[in-house]
Subunit: 200 residues, 2 copies
């Protein structure tokens, strides 16, 4: 089956999806917080429900902070997280509603309405942060960097260590850098469109 | 503050993020399932935990199926969902573990281990489908199409109508097409990086 061409040029498709890979080992070349601010400056435009933008990013830059993070990572993720040039903790902030008067100004009262609905806010924050984590991973690749996203960690432990006094809940931790040789395994199989897409 | 340039060319940044907008009204130009299969053929390469790929897509193509969807949409989303050239129901499949022997073959036994852990699977499916919905929205834009993602609907109603007998849970419904004039509102403000990024 021949599918229609996309508008996005092939080189950009390759950079973001087709040749992009999850990296497990990195060179010593550093990654600066400003490089991640440049990523954010692009992916912040990705849509979220009610423009809620619940994603929060903690960049673990100092050696001291890295030492505090490592014990909370799953054992299989600890060595690579120790060596990555920069590590980003990606979290959902259930207190996103505090920003709604600014970011969603045409719905006055929505902040106060959501104030007492913590369960709703938690699930809204998780879903929309999930979308934003998708945008963020694409954005890391758009910067020419490589991401190693991980979900194997003790999230409550990370939250107690880095998010105390807030409503942030860690969803994904991402190692970021330039890939070393043999940074990834062979590409794993993707599902056929017939297994994913139903037409009704 | 001047931020570092990204590797992705400016025109691609514009197409995917900077000039891309959420569309509310569309021209009559149709969108075919094959155009969405081409989107999937790109975004399927986006990473998910354990390569789990829990996102499932139901394309509502026939008028009869559209009529079954509309009553479950929030009132404010009904008219635009009625008129969009194509509508995609994006759902998380908590039965993703059935595919793991194929898509994550180096961890034998993981399917059986997850079999009895429905709560874990449900939250894994939601998080990773969230990432994949982020990839999908970027992919719709990569195809030169415009997306109108919505979370205002009765998810249980949509699932009873379209996902009966499965473990699929609707997360986002997306209108897809070519934008009509005045298809969007003015861009809403995004959070400053200082409100999102913490460096430790």
């Amino acid at each position: 089956m021949t599918l229609p061409d996309l508008a996005l040029p092939q080189a950009a498709q390759d950079l973001l999806f087709r040749q992009a890979r999850t990296a497990n080992t990195f060179t010593d070349e550093p990654v600066t917080p400003d490089e991640i601010r440049a990523v954010y400056d692009l992916v912040k435009f990705g849509p979220t429900a009610m423009n809620s933008q619940p994603l929060r990013i903690t960049l673990v830059e100092t050696a001291e902070a890295r030492e505090r993070l490592l014990p909370h990572m799953a054992e299989g993720n600890r060595a690579k997280t120790a060596k990555a040039p920069l590590v980003a903790i990606l979290a959902a902030d259930a207190d996103f509603h505090e920003n709604l008067p600014t970011v969603f100004p045409h719905a006055p009262g929505i902040r106060d309405m959501l104030h007492g609905q913590e369960d709703s806010r938690t699930s809204m924050a998780a879903l929309n942060s999930g979308l934003q984590i998708g945008y963020f991973i694409i954005g890391v690749r758009a910067a020419g960097l490589y991401a190693g996203p991980m979900t194997g960690f003790d999230g409550a432990g990370i939250d107690a260590e880095f998010h105390t006094g807030t409503s942030k809940k860690t969803l994904v931790v991402v190692n970021i850098g330039h890939p070393a040789e043999d940074s990834w395994f062979d590409r794993l199989p993707r599902l056929d469109d017939a297994d994913v897409i139903t037409v009704v």
